[in-house]
């Protein structure tokens, strides 16, 4: 593992203290940038990626060759206009696209595997702050994130309140619910049940692809809406390999198109993602509870942005949810917005109508473009 990927890299000047009490030494952050940084460094936009995302937000993925994961949003003349903004997107620690994670070498020159410390969303953001420090960027024009990226954006705002002027959190939550944790646990158990997992010590040998694929399949269902799945697949059957059109096999091949689709998603995922990273990142998301970090009251997490903020350096917030997202439903966004209101922080919130479930933030939703553009430019 630990492929050498074509990315910019920065080794943090200090060891990274973690929420667990452990310390992560020699942290490397792999990142991409798009657009020129202004002389006053005031046009930097940080985009935080989701669970299985990466730094290739607007450039093709070096393994899959697919376009950047948010190319519809980021680029010259686009909503996040790289003719105007210096866009930074970094791989989070714990991941597997060049930043320090379980596949990286520990001090004994062997991969960490499960010796990698359990990290939190705040630890990921610590890594990002280290990157910004290294790049000399004191205050971001905007920090943007969807899903787990939104958690990072909120965590950055809560813990480093003067590091961003605008915080845009999309399809996200301030805490993982029991249902969120439950789905993640299914994925983790699938990986750990794969005989190739070997307690996480599989680097250099066969990787737990079957388990990781099942984890991805289960998670993928949560990213789509029932309406979307029904429209895309319904109960339609696959054509058989021998050319027979849409008949049941009376066996356990992928008869239904939805089965075939999920298998394809699962196996494709194993080509580009490390199973141990999946364990660590889902764990970080499950541990996420922004209120808990701030004495149990979410409004206190945003105290640096409110009425009592005397330094005038607080951020403006924009929270966006989608009506078909049942992974992080609108109620979670409202919860965040109510806390921001209670803290007196300037906040916009809108629930957009889109048929694609949680994945709506990545897909073609014109209203999302308008709201984001208005917020970023405002």
């Amino acid at each position: 593992m630990a492929p050498t990927l074509p990315s910019k890299r920065l080794t943090l000047s200090n060891d990274l203290p973690l929420d667990s009490g452990q310390v992560l030494p020699r942290v490397e952050i792999a990142y991409e940038t798009y657009g020129e940084l202004a002389a006053d460094k005031g046009n930097a936009v940080l985009i935080c990626h989701a669970l299985t995302g990466d730094q290739y937000v607007a450039s093709s993925h070096p393994i899959t060759g697919k376009p950047g994961w948010w190319e519809r949003m980021v680029g010259p003349g686009k909503v996040v206009d790289t003719d105007r903004f210096h866009v930074i997107c970094a791989n989070v620690i714990g991941s597997c696209m060049g930043s320090t994670g379980p596949a990286s070498e520990a001090s004994d020159c062997k991969p960490y595997g499960m010796r990698f410390p359990v990290i939190t969303i705040r630890d990921m953001v610590r890594g990002l702050i280290g990157l910004l420090d290294g790049l000399g960027i004191e205050r971001l024009h905007t920090v943007i994130g969807g899903s787990m990226g939104g958690m990072q954006a909120l965590s950055l705002a809560a813990n480093w309140p003067d590091r961003a002027a605008r915080v845009l959190a999309i399809a996200t939550t301030a805490r993982h619910s029991a249902q969120n944790i439950a789905f993640h646990e299914v994925g983790r158990q699938a990986i750990m049940a794969d005989p190739n997992w070997r307690g996480g010590d599989y680097y250099g040998g066969s990787t737990p692809d079957a388990g990781l694929a099942v984890a991805r399949m289960a998670a993928h269902i949560t990213y789509l809406s029932e309406e979307g799945l029904t429209e895309k697949f319904g109960r339609r059957l696959q054509d058989r390999p021998d050319g027979t059109k849409g008949t049941k096999s009376f066996g356990f091949d992928a008869d239904f198109q939805v089965e075939s689709y999920l298998r394809y998603q699962g196996s494709g995922f194993t080509q580009r993602f490390d199973a141990n990273s999946y364990l660590y990142i889902t764990r970080a998301m499950d541990y996420f509870d922004l209120a808990e970090e701030h004495g149990g009251k979410l409004a206190d997490a945003f105290a640096g942005h409110g009425l009592t903020s005397v330094n005038g350096k607080g951020a403006r917030f924009c929270v966006i949810s989608f009506d078909s997202d049942w992974l992080y439903p609108t109620a979670e966004s409202r919860h965040i917005v109510h806390a921001l209101n209670a803290a007196g922080a300037p906040v916009s919130f809108v629930e957009l109508s889109a048929p694609f479930g949680h994945d709506s933030f990545l897909l073609d939703v014109p209203a999302l473009d308008r709201v984001m553009k208005g917020f970023i430019d405002g």
Binding site: H338, P346, S348, S353, G378
Partner: protein, 199 residues
């Protein structure tokens, strides 16, 4: 920007001190907020129930939350704003009296405007026509209207008096113009009150 404001909104804009904090409840497409922010240097926030209107507000750079004034005001701290504004929305509330209490709680001062159901056109439609009025000020039929609690200027004065609320100022409008307060309950299509509550 410089869009023409509805007369009640224009009066509100003229009577808000520069640099103050404002919550516009039922802010619609944000016309008043935009005017306050751009021409008066005011920190304006909005609350609006219609997602498409919220989208338009955010797209023009305003801080607006999609929500229901009937329930979402509870999240704002006491006296969080110098002014709370409720324009042409009171009569759509499930409990206008409670909403008024919430406005006076979150704002040091409150502006409330509403269509006057005792305007002579309304009265004559009911008295002579025997039907629920459909007028310039109340253009929607009884079965479609969002106005579920019609109110007159006299009713409103009585409510605020019962609540011990101070009327700081009042303005009346007809035909798109401000009119005097003589026989306002008969002559005014719309009323605007500036209120405050001590303590």
């Amino acid at each position: 920007m410089a869009e023409r404001l509805r007369p009640d909104l224009a009066v509100i804009a003229q009577n808000i001190a520069p640099g103050s904090r404002v919550l516009d409840i039922g802010c619609g497409d944000g016309k008043l907020m935009a005017e306050l922010v751009e021409s008066h240097g005011i920190d304006a926030r909005g609350l609006e129930i219609d997602p498409q209107l919220v989208e338009r507000c955010v797209a023009r750079g305003l801080s607006v939350v999609q929500g229901d004034a009937g329930s979402d005001l509870a999240n704002y701290p006491d006296k969080a704003f110098d002014y709370a504004i409720l324009s042409q929305t009171l009569q759509t509330a499930a409990r206008p009296d409670r909403m008024l209490d919430e406005l006076l709680r979150v704002g040091r001062q409150t502006f409330v405007s509403f269509p006057n159901f005792a305007h002579w056109r309304t009265r004559s439609a009911l008295m002579l026509g025997g039907r629920m009025p459909v007028t310039r000020a109340l253009p929607v039929s009884w079965y479609e209207t969002q106005n579920i609690h019609h109110v007159t200027i006299a009713d409103f004065r009585e409510l605020v008096a019962e609540k011990g609320v101070t009327v700081e100022n009042s303005w009346f409008f007809s035909g798109g113009h401000e009119i005097g307060n003589f026989a306002a309950n008969l002559r005014a299509e719309f009323a605007l009150f500036q209120l405050s509550r001590q303590g």
